[in-house]
């Protein structure tokens, strides 16, 4: 299918009548995924500051609210069933959703808040014709035109987009839009663009998990965290980080339970009620973050919990670059080769 760029604004506006439409929007100096009413607002092609996970797993969400009255207790579930389209997110963000699915819907647990949104959301991603220098999606099983997690993939052909259905849901979605079919020439052009686009940055993660297997007590962790401020810029802006904290907010006889993003980089994250903290310093916290992404997640779900979007690299206030960290880990002597 072909979408003419001139018609994008109208198309989004029409979609917004039927769906809640998220698209990249320039807002006060940042590009963010925002709910749009008018198609012209969309800044397609721009990388969003915050990752798209927020659509399915908002930074803060009310899980339920309650009211106490003379008649008793009244509770209300806050499950969000709104039909949603995420339009123009990057393929790395789309891929992150596949990874998050593992966590929020597995054989032990189904997170109904996440899965309900997921079921009701159509992902239309836009391939990256020009990945940034901090992008390393190709090194972690993705790519500028990777379709994992997308229902529809858009390819920028200059004046128009070529829209490819990836899933049945995507096919059905596209068929309703009454778009012209793509010609052979356009298809060939799209294939050419796909082949040409490459994430320029590289990280070698082959054998990384095995390396980390023997590194829990390794002296490498002693100094890695030294310059880290212990903020959550990396984890909050990471498309795959998914830890949260639950807080009850109550006033008089009304209240609600709120789920907020939390970060393993905060001391409070593991602080016990007793005052004991099993991860007392940046050392243990960094080890956890690295191990979770590149070892524990691999063990549990057979996938690396990193999509190579580069947000943690671009936004770290002290330039602690995960690409360098991974390269350093690979270079460590863990003694396992000897034995």
């Amino acid at each position: 299918m072909i979408i003419n760029k001139r018609e994008i604004a109208g198309l989004l506006e029409n979609l917004a009548k039927e769906y809640r439409v998220y698209a990249p929007v320039e807002k006060d100096g940042n590009v963010l995924l925002e709910v749009i009413e008018e198609g012209a607002e969309a800044a397609l092609g721009a990388a969003t500051k915050k990752p798209a996970k927020e659509i399915l797993f908002p930074q803060s969400e009310e899980l339920f609210s309650y009211q106490l009255s003379d008649e008793g207790l009244r509770m209300e579930d806050k499950i969000d069933k709104t039909k949603t389209v995420a339009f123009g997110i990057r393929p790395c963000d789309a891929k992150s959703m596949i990874l998050l699915d593992n966590v929020f819907h597995n054989d032990q647990y189904e997170d109904v808040y996440y899965t309900t949104r997921r079921k009701n959301t159509i992902i239309v991603s836009l391939g990256c014709s020009e990945p940034e220098s901090t992008c390393f999606c190709t090194s972690v099983g993705g790519g500028p035109f990777n379709t994992d997690g997308s229902d529809v993939l858009l390819i920028d052909l200059g004046e128009k987009y070529l829209a490819e259905a990836v899933t049945d849901q995507g096919k059905e979605f596209l068929s309703k839009l009454n778009l012209p079919e793509a010609g052979e020439e356009e298809k060939a052009e799209a294939e050419g663009i796909k082949k040409q686009a490459q994430a320029t940055s590289e990280v070698d993660i082959t054998g990384l998990k095995e390396k980390l297997d023997g590194m829990f007590e390794h002296p490498y962790w002693d100094r890695l965290h030294e310059k880290c401020l212990g903020c959550a810029a990396c984890t909050y802006l990471c498309p795959t980080c998914h830890c949260f904290d639950i807080a009850d907010e109550a006033k008089d006889k009304n209240g609600c339970r709120v789920r907020n993003w939390d970060s393993c980089m905060f001391p409070l994250f593991t602080l016990h009620g007793s005052g004991h903290n099993p991860r007392p310093s940046g050392k243990e916290r960094w080890r956890q973050r690295l191990m979770h992404k590149f070892k524990y997640f691999v063990e549990r779900y057979n996938a690396t919990a990193c999509v190579g979007c580069g947000r943690c690299i671009k936004n770290c206030p002290v330039n602690l670059d995960i690409r360098q960290v991974l390269a350093e880990i690979k270079a460590q002597d863990t003694g396992s080769e000897v034995s």
Partner: protein, 317 residues
């Protein structure tokens, strides 16, 4: 800059080799263009990686509180102001700290550089005297260094370290401090100010990079992290709670803030935090004729009391 780098390296190596210090905190080359990164050198070999350039934007005083070992720090004007303020609060033992002072003419703002090239990605930057050459895919732009400085740097009057054990490089001419942007903000009506603050605070994601980047923010438990009682909502979408967080943080900085801008530089969302901190700096200066971290021997302003102190917030004078 290369000369300064060489002298810093030599000084650091000597201090480490002679065991005068156990650690040198400075900067190393970063992994991105226009970026240097805090670096911890413990051997002469490691000291070889130290650099000094226009990208040394972090306030290294943040790494110096309650250190057991003897430490040397590569410190620009604002770092030293924070060090002095921390000495007064008993967080830094001057006896165990060796200050390699470096006069500073300001650090380069990556955001500004990005905006100057129309948002295109900068892949390479080269400082040539007073000019910076920015290069990326299909473009090369020459920009005056002065135009690229962080706002806080462009308005900084204290590029020269107030105290040091050794000074590397020539002292820089003092810039005139100005609070133009604060005066403009003060001139707005209450509604406009509230609107502006709400707009800025709506960007906040509560990552606390600002708080953690600040050398003066070292409360063992920050009030925002308290859950019994929970002083403010932990919801990042709550603009008013975000404002309470920043407001309390800034009030807590009065008379302590060295106006370094580290909070604003750390913010991944680009919140204009220096408007809040500098309003505090300006008020303290005007009301009490005090600026934090300039004199190791004076009393912190809020620890001192005169009967004729202005109290406009208590009564109309």
């Amino acid at each position: 800059m290369q000369n300064i780098t060489n002298v810093i390296k030599d000084t650091a190596k000597k201090l480490l080799e002679e065991k005068k210090v156990d650690l040198v905190v400075g900067f190393a080359k970063g992994s991105l263009p226009l970026r240097s990164t805090p670096y911890f050198a413990r051997t002469a070999e490691e000291a070889e990686r130290l650099v000094w350039d226009e990208y040394c934007e972090n306030n290294l005083a943040n790494y110096l509180r309650n250190r057991e070992e003897k430490v040397a720090v590569v410190a620009k004007g604002c770092d030293v102001r924070s060090i002095v303020a921390l000495m007064k609060e008993n967080q830094i033992d001057r006896e165990k700290l060796y200050i390699i002072g470096v006069p500073c003419r300001g650090m380069i703002d990556r955001q500004k550089a990005g905006e100057l090239v129309g948002g295109k990605e900068i892949l390479e930057a080269e400082v040539k005297g007073e000019e910076v050459v920015l290069r990326g895919k299909g473009f090369e732009e020459k920009v005056k260094k002065e135009e690229l400085l962080y706002d806080t740097c462009a308005r900084c009057a204290y590029g020269n370290p107030a105290i040091y054990d050794e000074l590397v490089g020539e002292e820089v001419p003092a810039r005139e401090a100005n609070f133009k942007e604060i005066e403009e903000f003060e001139a707005l009506g209450a509604e406009e100010r509230a609107e502006f603050l709400a707009k800025e605070m709506s960007k906040c994601i509560r990552c606390y990079a600002c708080r953690n980047a600040c050398p003066m923010c070292y409360c063992e438990t920050c009030f925002v992290d308290s859950s019994t009682p929970q002083w403010i909502s932990k919801r990042a979408y709550s603009v008013k709670d975000n404002l309470i967080f920043q407001g309390v943080r800034v009030f807590h900085q009065l008379g302590r803030c060295a106006d370094c801008g580290a909070c604003e530089r750390a913010c991944p969302m680009g919140i204009k935090l220096s408007l809040l901190t500098r309003k505090g700096v300006k008020d303290v200066k005007e009301m009490f004729d005090y600026e934090a971290g300039l004199n190791p021997n004076d009393k912190p302003v809020l620890n001192d009391f005169n009967t004729d102190d202005p109290q406009p917030f208590l009564m109309k004078e």
